[in-house]
Amino acid sequence: MLSDLAYRLRSVFRRKAVEQELDEELRFHLEQHAAKLASAGMPAEEANRLARLALEGPEQVKERCRDERGIRLWEAMVQDFWQAFRQLKKSPAVTITIVATLALCIGANAAVYSIVDALFFRPLPYPHPKQLVMLVTYKGSPELDTSQDGFEWEAVRDHATLLEPAAYGPTMGTNLATGTSAAYIRQQRISADLFHVLGMPLYRGREFTRREDVPNGPALAIMSYGLWQRVFHADPKIEGRSVILNGVPHTVVGVASAGFRAIPVSDFGSLEQPDIYTPIQPSTEGEGSGDNYGVIARLKPGVSIQQADAQLKTLTREIRAHKGPLPKNHIEEERVISLQSGLVYDIRTGIHIMWTAVILVLVIGCINIAGLLLAQSGRRSRELAMRCALGASRFRILQALLIESMLLAFLGAGAGVLLGRLTLQQLLKLNPDQFGLLGGVPLDARVLLTTGALSFCAALLFGFFPALEASRVDLRTTLGEASRTSAGRRRDYRRHVLVFAEVSLGVILITSAGLLVQTLLSSTSPYPGFNTNHLLVASASLSEPRYAKPAAAARLFRESTNRIEQIPGVQAAAVAMSAPYTRPLNEGLAQVNGQRLAGGTELNYVTPGFFKTLGVKLLGGRWLTEADYSRARRVVLINETFVHFYLRDSNPVGSVITFENQQWSVAGVVNSVQEDNHLSHTVPVSFYPEVYILVAQFPEGLFEMANRWFSPVWLVRTTREDAALPRAMQKALASVDPRLPFAEFRTIRAIRAKTLGPQRYRAWVVSAVSGLAVILAALGIYGLVAQSVSQRTREMGIRMALGADVWSIIRTCTAPAIIVACAGVVCGLIGAAFAATLLKGVVWNVSRFDPRTYALVGVLLIGLAFVASLLPALRLRHVSPARVLQEE
């Protein structure tokens, strides 16, 4: 067995030596035989001839000895490889087209698959990630709610015996006092045991205990490794030290390990890694009365997700008993899903769409290449027939052709991976937050392996059928045809099917792209309700005891905006709880004129200059002014959407709005401003009913709570871009309160870009990919007609000589392709209507069956089919009947 392998390996790698030995061995034999004959008196020449005859031809013997080496298949493949290489070099145009097509298709796949892999398949950076689950609420529809309220968390924490649960809140800005000034850092509130559940022991110190993690429990902190190094210079006596967060002393109990990555909370707050952790101290009131906690858990050993679900089902009933009965027709059930799918739950649809799009374009690319190869095999049938005549088996020819395809696929894959790297960088730039959910998105060996496998499948897909077709050579007719190239009805029919398929798929893609682009445009193009030019936004955390009272904050806001307005180039400055395009504070229990608001309303505290700074228009009533601070009567402005939703039938000005047991009267109506959608995972930005309240009149309790979740924003309108503005603003703020740092300076357009990131990348990717698909489809049509034209030049020449009109001949050549393309368009549009179901949830403001989009795509593609088929057909105008007949 081993000697056999050694023999074969030697034959492969020491081929020259083995050949030489064989030659020497046979030569020795011939010499000996000849010498023997010569010694019997035969002439030397005759002796040599007889010796060769006796050996039955040295070359034939050599060939038979080579057969004994057992490496025939290998040698044939090497031979075919070089043959394929020469073949590809012989028709560079086709080769370049195929490799470029593959490079684009595989590049797109490599880039998108990197993201898919990072989000869906790469194990989470925690030990035994398969045991980690996320608690979700099933509410009847297929959508799951991934956030939980205080009742749900406490029930799971205390009674779900099959789970080891932990909770966390969003990451918020907070002020860390450092000497006389303060630094803006990111803080996440977490429950006891979170590190234990994730399986990530602390670098030093200990976690919060269950007893500490209760309302009004002690103020404790766990630092990130980075903060401990950066700000505290790796102080070895950090445990027990007191740090001041938002003006409140916290005792440090531990430091997280260097590689720890916190659970990202994608829909609210910042996705950046927290610098410090404090106890969440959950309750069922205030924050805990709404869905504001994320809950994860580790399944106890041997527990399955089904068992955990069963236990949670009974728990749900107990939770309900606490909260009061569900409204009619509502379902509510606590469940667990794997943590991995929980983390990507909200963005999965977008990723699936991208993934489907790039796979579809790869299929189209393969169909196109199959068409090209089929056309080529028609041209090569003589060569292949010759090889058959010389004794090549059908299997051997099939093998040679498939090796050609493999070579093409791997050339394409190589170029594709390079292209994929560039594409990936662009994709990550478009939407850095979501793609980097739990670390980077590398294009590494995992992705390369998948891409390699994909290319292999692609090669089989586009190479197999043309090869099968080509290897079915009819020797007699092919060789007998002499110089004529055959039109081959069968082959034509196959190419038509291929063109039909790629046009259909292309139409599906471009229709989807059209819907996504329209969604993006409709989200950005209409007037967002304010002027987006030169508006800089910065936030500062006010969750400090000294700003617990709205009056204190109002004073800070007034003084700081006054100072900022004195900076040269600044036109106006204002402060609000939340900026446009970000998530506002939702109040679900408000009433207007004694009526409960069915859909709730947004609340926003503002300074009087807010509307002027943004460029919001007054539609009725009057503005709010500083003078309203001192008046006894509380007044608010409402927006147009509020009127549209709740006050359509009455005069809005003077209406009474009630919340937090206080009453406000409506002083005026302003136009609506676009905000981040947070109520459902649908429209990215929209207009919501909103109530604007002056800071000084904002309810005290709500103010303190709101500032825990929101860092208020300073909005500054300037005449031009100014890189020095952030520093000047910081100075202006420091002159009012030196311990209050600004953070997250961004233009309002950057905020919009971030909010619309998912829409933009979806529209961008699907458009780019469908553009590629359409070009491929056009190429396919072009190739089909070009082939038919070149095959029929002779026939056309004769027809013309007999008096046929050149246009009627062009019609004959193009008609089949155009008919096939039109059939493809019709079929594709029907397919697109089905595919639109996948787009449910990412297409808004435009119907998924929007007739305009469908009609436009249809007209565009049919127009393209005309152009693509006429271009090669027009060559027929220059056919000279005389020349053709002469050649005949």
Binding site: E21, F28, Q32, V61, E68
Partner: protein, 90 residues
């Protein structure tokens, strides 16, 4: 070859000699057969010089080759005896 290493020419000469020209081994079939036996590991090739000081490829039987030979001889004898019996009966 069971006795001593031989080169291809020697084998073909010896075969002719021993079988007294009854068995005509085609010279063209000899070398592929030798190469096959070599690949199976039953023969070991060895380059050395002939009495005329000429380099030649000698084949030497290996232990595995001997075992195989014994088995083949045994099965051949069995077959030959069976054939003889059948012929005698006729």
């Amino acid at each position: 070859m069971a006795l001593e290493p031989l080169h291809g020419w020697g084998i073909s000469e010896r075969l002719q000699q021993i079988s007294k020209d009854v068995v005509q081994v085609q010279q063209g079939s000899l070398y592929p057969a030798l190469h096959r036996l070599e690949r199976r590991g039953w023969l070991r090739p060895k380059w050395s010089t002939t009495e005329n000081n000429r380099r030649a490829k000698y084949y030497e039987i290996t232990a595995a080759g001997r075992k195989q030979l014994a088995a083949e001889v045994k099965s051949w004898r069995k077959l030959a005896a069976a054939v003889a019996t059948v012929l005698d009966m006729a």
